[in-house]
Symmetry: C2
Subunit: 429 residues, 2 copies
Amino acid sequence: MQRLSITDPGFETAFTRLVDGRRESDITVSQDVATIVERVRRRGDTALAEYTRRFDKHDLVDDADWCIAPEACRAAYEGLDAPLRDALDLAAQRIEAYHRDQLPADRDFTDGAGVRLGARWQPVDAAGLYVPGGRAAYPSSLLMNAIPARVAGVERLVVVTPTRGGESNPLVLAAAHLAGVDEIWCIGGAQAIAALAYGTERIARVDVVTGPGNAWVAEAKRQLYGVVGIDMVAGPSEILVIADGDNDPDWIAADLLSQAEHDPTSQSILITDDAAFANQVEDRVDTQSAQLATRTTAQASWRDNGVMIVVETLDQAIPLANRLAAEHVELAVADPSSLFAGLRHAGSVFLGRHTPEAVGDYVAGPNHVLPTGRRARFASGLSVLDFMKRTSFIELDPGALAAIGPAAVALAEAEGLPAHANSVSMRLK
Amino acid sequence: MQRLSITDPGFETAFTRLVDGRRESDITVSQDVATIVERVRRRGDTALAEYTRRFDKHDLVDDADWCIAPEACRAAYEGLDAPLRDALDLAAQRIEAYHRDQLPADRDFTDGAGVRLGARWQPVDAAGLYVPGGRAAYPSSLLMNAIPARVAGVERLVVVTPTRGGESNPLVLAAAHLAGVDEIWCIGGAQAIAALAYGTERIARVDVVTGPGNAWVAEAKRQLYGVVGIDMVAGPSEILVIADGDNDPDWIAADLLSQAEHDPTSQSILITDDAAFANQVEDRVDTQSAQLATRTTAQASWRDNGVMIVVETLDQAIPLANRLAAEHVELAVADPSSLFAGLRHAGSVFLGRHTPEAVGDYVAGPNHVLPTGRRARFASGLSVLDFMKRTSFIELDPGALAAIGPAAVALAEAEGLPAHANSVSMRLK
């Protein structure tokens, strides 16, 4: 864990290093992924079966090997303990309600020159969702990816997920049932992304691919960007907690650890104006982390990537927060409004002392798929818009063309595009 | 030019080949671009000067070599002939008005569980616009990229443009003045994209890079996606005209040629229910194209990529149009409303007989940067949203946390993330 104070002479250098530091794994998988993608493109299901046998130790022979049936998902949902099923229901309802309000309005109007203009939003035909296998198979991620697609009106919702040795996670299947997933294919890795993008004999191609994955999955999405739409390539998770000394240090320590337990490359940062409070939090992080079932990961993350920054006043925290552009920002103060007003770059913000980031991971409603690695400077969390596209439209009558057509002719001629000019001027005669 | 009829036995095969055909140039520049990007990242302005000397025959020594001053842009604007200046003004006004209506609304509400939820949109800090050199330096493209950024509220607007031998296009400078561009750097190619993404000694980095370019520029954007935000990677332009036999064949021929004159890889497609009309249009394309200053390009495009499809009824055109997902679609019929209602995938639609696509290139108002190469299945034209990002926010008081917190605890425990659960359950005591 790194400790900085804004009054240190070396602060600016150390903070700049923090902002510019990359925590992404540097595995170069580009060539491997290109080979896999090309092979799935050319050989379809045969290539999928080969890679799945090799990487997931799973033989794709019968339909039952390839797909998980909707009945299995329903059975998994119905088999959940009631409190857990209720929690999943509540999460799904709240996520759906929040995302339903994101549906964009169409436009259709005629302006002063008599030109009819507008824009029409429509869902994509089909969306593919990647769900990682093993420990990282989170039902909450499935809901956060599938529900916005469903709200957008996507007709065909396809999940791909590696099932090592044929094993799948019943909680994920339950979530798939709840979200109304149409197909679940037992494939993973770069080969699954290629199958979604190009289609194979069994799997019809989709239009958009979202969802988290390892370095191979991320690189496949990057390489296929343009063949399909993709969500932002995600890096390790991160939290920035801005807290005064009046917080319970145990609460803040738990918030820092909730990011740290995700992955050793996750990053938890505390900025406070109270050095004694920072000491208390550090102490509680050590105490709490020792008791976690996830302690190996959480302790490694905190040791290697944890940061505590002491400032003189919390106002100084905001320019630092804007440079960090963190995925999650907690403003743990009595009245967060003025700090929030100055915050320019953040994926999602958690206001006040009673809003732990984890409520946003599960049940608050806004999406938990958020820009990481300083990308909140330019990117947004996943939304209904990622599963829709906008078509603009224009309609002129002869009067409207007479009003604006001559300017188009002048500009086309100036750009050296005479056929553009002709197509307008012929209609002006 | 390829001619198909829906009643041909081989139609489905030929049409599928058309839909799946790639017109992108297959130059593999990936390794070259990776080298350039890495060198600009490490060596900054030194690398920029070397590449600019080599590729653009332009020496970057003094400030005047590096930058085009705002005064030069103002002088270029004031030096335009009055009709051309008026046309540029009209275009800028109409583009601005259309895009101002795209500004998204923030959300801030408290739901039935007492949870405050919302989303706040803010512009990125800085945007970089690529403007190609030479013939493809279009002032209309500068307006279409710069004005949405300005409307979004972007504070710093940076243009990069190669100035071969130090030459720049006065119309582009005039458009830069009109759009309020803050900086113009005389650099181009992959090296310019790398400079915008990483920053150099002279050039501060930006957050989003948009604008058209050659294969090197497109590949650099693809490689730097995630370091900066980018707009969709663009391929060759295309138009699909759906027309009945009551159109003036000269008008439709001009519309087809207005795409063909862009580039030999551009594609113009006519679908009509009148075979005799198709013959007339073919004839007029030949006549008109012979008289164009752009005939070499237009004739090559029409010969190699032009398509005419005869259908039995125009209703049959719509499923074909949805598979083509063209950048531009004209519906040249008396009442286009029912055809338009069935159209699912198109970048921009031009309704009726008096709406040539070229009015959309210049003065209608909607953006002319549109998804190409069937990407209208999942992508939209450039908009104000490309220069903004959304931050979600959540605020709970103890009552709201008591209402939804227990579900978060249950889900966190089920996912094996105890620190997530702790951060909520501690606050519930």
